[in-house]
Symmetry: C2
Subunit: 216 residues, 2 copies
């Protein structure tokens, strides 16, 4: 069981570390962090540098493939990009192909979302719609073997759901207890439907200046 | 506002990336990942290598200091270790000194938990008790300016609580919406009080072979 997580410059750290932390405890799983080139890949904040040891070419046919999101996903999903080509080819033989947040944009660019339901960060539903997806604001969406998660922290919920489906609920619950995933957010404000309007407007202005959402 | 996160070999990735992701969005905050030496610091799974650019000596007096946990915390908390010495000295001038999971062991070794309430990973309460702490199984504990979080994923809740106290609830809620922290675990099994007994026994046997918990 090989699990490959594909990085690119400008990824969001929690997008990949959330699922990484869960999946790394699957007995017998080989976790491979990979990128276009080996060496340093820096996150979207410019402060976390991951020293990557494997290229996409090293991992042509993982059983599970996961792509995180982040501001870098726009460039990473350009036609013919190394990430898109890797995802498109590897997807032919994966058991599961997954994305977190705007990592869905990469899956979309690889043609994997066309006509299917999918989720992404709440501010970027139009982007995956542009790739033919039917966007929803569910936390985790399974569409055949394509699994998409909502924004950033949703990768943790995605990973537990995936572990339960592929390896059973007992393993998922064991890992959940191991990392004490008993979330207790101090505020119930983590979804656009729950946030105060002025905070939703502020976050939109900061994350996506000039964007006017068409939906909720 | 300088926020330093101290790494050491054998840290658990989500312990630091959870709070890192939240704190990095504090306007004006300078996030510094640091370690005893610059260069590669590898996590407890052996697969995530962080390329660290700053030493503890570069960050002698951060405003907020955070130490993640992980199996490496035992060695990191040895008397006179670089991490312990850094924490002990820096704590004199911090606004907040925080730990996630068994990072509390390092705070304990630095003498910061003596006589106070604190939390850590549910399997390691006795370890911080050995440093004079009064362990609780709360998610996040404030004791003066010392803030401790429970196991691994609790660092996210810790960070939001800390941001709200130091910078206000509006900022905390804005960041929460930004990273879509609206957790929806597929199972309610992430605390020892909620887990099935056989799963609790299994996780104990894997994480801490031979250990017999004295409490719940």
């Amino acid at each position: 069981m090989q699990i490959a997580i594909g990085l690119y410059p400008g990824f969001t750290a929690l997008d990949f570390v959330g699922p990484y932390q869960v999946l790394t405890y699957v007995p017998g799983a080989e976790i491979v962090l990979c990128a276009e080139r080996t060496g340093r890949v820096t996150d979207d904040r410019g402060t976390l540098h991951v020293d990557v040891e494997h290229t996409f070419a090293d991992v042509p046919s993982p059983d599970i493939l996961l792509v995180p999101g982040g501001p870098g996903s726009t460039e990473a999903s350009a036609p013919g990009s190394a990430v898109v080509e890797w995802v498109r080819r590897a997807h032919e033989t994966t058991t599961w192909t997954a994305s977190v947040c705007t990592g869905a944009e990469v899956l979309g660019a690889a043609g994997l979302l066309d006509g299917g339901r999918a989720t992404t960060h709440w501010l970027y539903c139009d982007v995956i719609e542009g790739h033919g997806a039917k966007p929803t604001q569910e936390r985790v969406v399974f569409e055949g073997k394509v699994v998409t998660g909502a924004g950033v922290s949703a990768g943790i919920d995605l990973a537990f759901t995936l572990v339960a489906r592929e390896f059973g609920q007992d393993l998922a619950e064991s890992i959940q207890l191991g990392i004490e995933y008993d979330p207790q957010p101090p505020f119930d404000a983590g979804a656009p439907s729950k946030a105060k309007p002025e905070i939703k407007a502020l976050v939109t202005a900061v994350m996506r200046p000039g964007y006017v959402p068409t939906g909720s």
